[in-house]
Amino acid sequence: MTVRNVDIAVLGAGPAGMAAALAAAGGGADTVLIERENHLGGILKQCVHDGFGLLRFGEKLSGPEYAGRFVHMVREAGLAVLTSTFVAAARHDSEESVLMLVDRSGVTELHAKAVVLATGCRERSARQVMIQGTRPAGVMTAGAAQYYVNVLGYLPTTRCVILGSGDIGLIMARRLTLEGAEVLGVFEAKSTPSGLSRNVAQCLDDFGIQLHLSRTVTRIFGDDRVEAVETAAVDEKMRPIAGTEERLTCDGVILSVGLIPENEVGEALGVPMDPVTKGPVMDQNGQTQVSGVFVCGNAAHVNDLVDYVTESGERAGAAAAAFVAGRRTHRLLPLMADSTVLLYAVPQFVDMDAPESGAVVYFRSGEELGVTVVEVTAGGETVARHRYQHLRPPEMERLEIDLNRIPVSAGSLNIGVESAAAAEMTS
């Protein structure tokens, strides 16, 4: 068994982890980037569609192209990278984190002064959304279907339904259609799509695939392979309505019913989680409530744009490097989201003692809204405000705040929608 010491261990070499590792190393810290798969790039490796990097590079890149640029930077920077390496256990002691790494050469006990969690997210499974019936082959998550088609070069189904209108589901509707499979429709239990509007237009509308809102898959039939599904309309509490059942013959069910941040290592390190985002409670630089453990990307909360994932990785990596370089004080103000209009806002805390005065707040609205002014207030002052043409839950919004504008007396920050009258005046 080998014992190794580093300043910073970055867990996960997707877009968040690569950005974090580059920033951490750039900040002068001895950094190692750890990836459980045998290639860098994370889920981007299988996302052959385009649309990545519009904000970051001003270009429409495919997933592998976007990842490729960072892989190139990682190589150029000469970063220490461990691929096919799995964190089998983790614990946090007062001064460091200890990670038990497993790879082909054996077990390594890695002592890291700081850890950046960039472990991404996973997809919810069929049973987690209460699908009943049998358990035949042919039921899979959209991500697994994407792997089969784009990486292995196989069609996992010839005629399928897609449950859930998450982005990967929409993208797979198009991808499967292009590869010659028949997509009978996309079923969404909610009354609005879960994915980006551009994906609904480009992946469904352009291919004549129907989106059935307020309708779900309730039952799967088939012993060996899926033979049919039962769909049903649902009420506002998403319970199936008796009498609305319809049976569709198909050989596959593709699920895109939500993503869950993967924080098993974070939990082992004792990092407290936010029940809403399912990611760690953190400040604007990804510092969790365990000193020296940082989080970024989809492990922190599920993003819809890779550009924001990269941005959060850079912040967390730089903050980890600063943490290793020397301890400083923290003064945390909670950021409270108005839950009547917002689904959530992150970070959960803003660290007033952070060296950079700029901080980024990301939020999602709870429902579809038209023209809306969102503002961040603190101690009676408006710290930031922005007018949006529309807000939709699937589309995460970004708002920058300047810490210098926050009154010293402020005990918290609040983010919410400006009152209608005020909004009227500004428009």
Binding site: M1, R36, S84, F86, A88, M100, V102, D103, R104, S105, G106, V107, E109, R122, E123, S125, A126, R127, Q128, M130, Q132, G133, T134, R135, P136, A137, M140, T141, G143, A144, Y147, Y148, V149, V151, L152, G153, Y154, L155, P156, T157, T158, E179, G180, A181, T218, R219, D223, D224, R225, P240, D251, G252, E264, E267
Partner: protein, 573 residues
């Protein structure tokens, strides 16, 4: 018609359906006629049970309902045609596999046939892995005897077969103060059945054993002999050890008929040819009555009682260690015994099971209302559990007879047939003891036509597939040095390595499907439910078995994971 059967017929006609008729045959009572629904079928069967007959043969049909035939293998060949063996075991569940291993202690030829592509695909993998203490069965029943004796054998069995087992103990919680007065009744039952160490404990003591339990109870019955094991791993281990000792296991092999002459089975037809066994053991689970019928010896009927079980994330495994149940005493029925929560040997928490009478023997579909009801009823036993911890759920069917007891005996009418039937709960706990008894009966039957000696090379020890998660870091490091594949993790949720998958594929009983690998090494059993690892396992199966990816199945038959290749471009060479 005897007065007794006439009396039963009258009762059934009055209480269930006027057109039911009864007759006698093979010391049992046979019910015939057409009824409206399954509830009537079950009710009639139960009313006819325990009326002095050996068993109930319930041939009642339901108006407009044709039951599906058993799931059958696609395979048809002559691989086994003309084979003579000393003993043929029908059924590769835990009972059949334990019997196979027990029989290899003798120097006889043993063939076990299983119609599925793997062992333990029905009741033996569709339960909560509990090794019952033996307090539930009525004193004097087969169940009571085999349960208590089987339970006591588990430390040895698990150690020999190289699989993890723990005596976690179980707690039955009492809500009301008056329920404590049932304690002495249970103590008396424990004494009668011979269950060791049972104690009535107060709330504080129960909470010291299980600090995360609900506070909503007043006292508890503690049964320390209750254990937990992986039921599928146990079944596979029994079968592998049998094979190591000379038995043969033939998967995808289904018995379809039998030739019976002068009270002996002379030939057994399968989809892989005709077999000529000297003795046949019927361990056919939910189809044991059909196998008995093939031999002309049906004196019992299986009515499949479905049970659903919910699996929670291993993250919450630390919350309990005992099997915990809180029966609703005022509503308790003997056949719907209380479900609860328990921790599997791998650390997941299971919730359930329930018990639902229904006609389909291999219908493992689940029901939304049942799942919701179990979450509502059982999660409060451990308040820190939440529905968000759910990762999946599944169903199984218990092969229950109307007498609700095991049928373990030599056939009275067919000299070379031994039944191990009606093995519902606590069949897992009973398996080692049932195997001993059935082996004794089988050797007895065989001894009438052949000389049976001991197997001098029998070795009951089996080396399982290494489980890195149960090793120290030093052991794990050394294992990876010997076998670098053990350092490549393919199932991230359960931390399962490529080495384990490779070893499963190369184990003594060759398997090729995704589910068979999962049963042996847990790849795909975690919180992502195989979303990440199924493609990896698929690749390893393809690589190890030299198989096209599109030919690999989830569970044999036509359960292909993939449909076709996306683009098949012919490259010029």
């Amino acid at each position: 018609m005897s007065r007794r059967s006439q009396h039963i017929q009258q009762r059934l006609q009055q209480q269930v359906e006027p057109n039911i008729s009864c007759r006698e045959g093979h010391d049992s009572i046979i019910l015939e006629g057409i009824v409206d629904n399954w509830a009537q079928v079950v009710r009639a069967g139960k009313l006819a049970a325990h009326e002095g007959y050996k068993g109930v043969v319930n041939r009642l049909a339901i108006e407009g309902l044709t039951l599906p035939p058993p799931r059958s293998p696609k395979l048809k060949d002559t691989a086994l045609d003309g084979l003579h063996v000393d003993v043929l075991i029908v059924g590769g569940g835990v009972t059949g596999c334990a019997i196979a291993r027990e029989l290899t202690r003798k120097s006889i030829s043993v063939l076990l046939v299983e119609k599925e592509d793997d062992l333990a695909t029905h009741a033996s993998s569709r339960n909560n892995g509990m090794i019952h203490p033996g307090i539930e069965p009525h004193p004097g029943t087969s169940k009571a005897y085999f349960n208590v004796h089987g339970n006591a054998m588990y430390d040895t069995v698990a150690a020999e077969l190289g699989i993890p087992f723990t005596r976690c103990g179980s707690l039955i919680l009492y809500q009301e103060r008056w329920e404590r007065f049932l304690g002495p009744l249970f103590m008396a039952r424990a004494r009668q059945n011979g269950v060791p160490g049972v104690r009535l404990i107060n709330k504080n003591e129960a909470l010291s054993l299980e600090p995360h339990l609900t506070r909503e109870f007043s006292a508890a019955l503690h049964m320390p002999s209750t254990g937990i094991i992986s039921p599928y791993l146990l079944t596979v281990a029994y079968a592998e050890n049998a094979v190591q000792n000379g038995a043969r296991v033939s998967l995808e092999t289904m018995v379809v008929d039998m030739k019976v002459r002068e009270g002996r089975i002379t030939a057994v037809g399968t989809n892989r040819g005709t077999l000529f066994p000297r003795v046949i053991v019927n361990a056919a689970g939910c189809y044991a009555d059909a196998v008995a019928d093939m031999a002309g010896d049906q004196f019992f009927t299986i009515h499949p009682r479905k049970g659903e079980i919910i699996i929670l994330d291993r993250k919450k495994g630390h919350l309990i260690s005992h099997v915990v149940a809180k029966p609703r005493l005022l509503q308790v029925k003997s056949d719907t015994k209380g479900g609860g929560v328990n921790r599997t040997i791998d650390g997941n928490i299971l919730v359930g099971p329930n018990a639902v009478e229904q006609p389909f023997r291999e219908d493992y579909s689940t029901d939304r209302d049942h799942i919701k009801l179990m979450l509502q009823r059982y999660l409060p036993l451990v308040p820190e559990l939440s529905p968000a911890d759910l990762i999946t759920y599944f169903a199984g069917t218990r092969p229950a007879t109307y007498e609700e007891d095991f049928v373990i005996e030599r056939s009275q009418y067919v000299r070379n047939l031994v039944h191990a039937a009606g093995i519902q709960s606590p069949g897992l706990a009973s398996a080692p003891a049932i195997a001993e008894e059935v082996a004794r009966l089988t050797v007895g039957a065989l001894g009438e036509v052949a000389r049976v000696g001991d197997n001098p090379t029998f070795d009951g020890h089996r080396q399982g597939i290494p489980e890195p998660e149960r090793m120290t870091w030093e052991e794990r490091d050394a294992l990876i040095h010997r076998r670098p594949d053990y350092g490549i993790i393919v199932c991230r949720c359960e931390g399962i390595s490529k080495g384990q998958v490779v070893d499963a594929l190369n184990s003594p009983i060759s398997v090729t499907s995704i589910d068979a690998v999962k049963r042996r090494v847990r790849a795909g059993m975690g919180r992502c439910q195989g979303a990440f690892c199924t493609p990896q396992v698929l690749r390893i199966i393809g690589e190890q078995n030299g198989e096209q990816l599109a030919a690999i199945t989830k569970k044999g038959g036509d359960s292909f994971i993939l449909a076709t290749e996306t683009k098949t471009v012919q490259r010029a060479s």
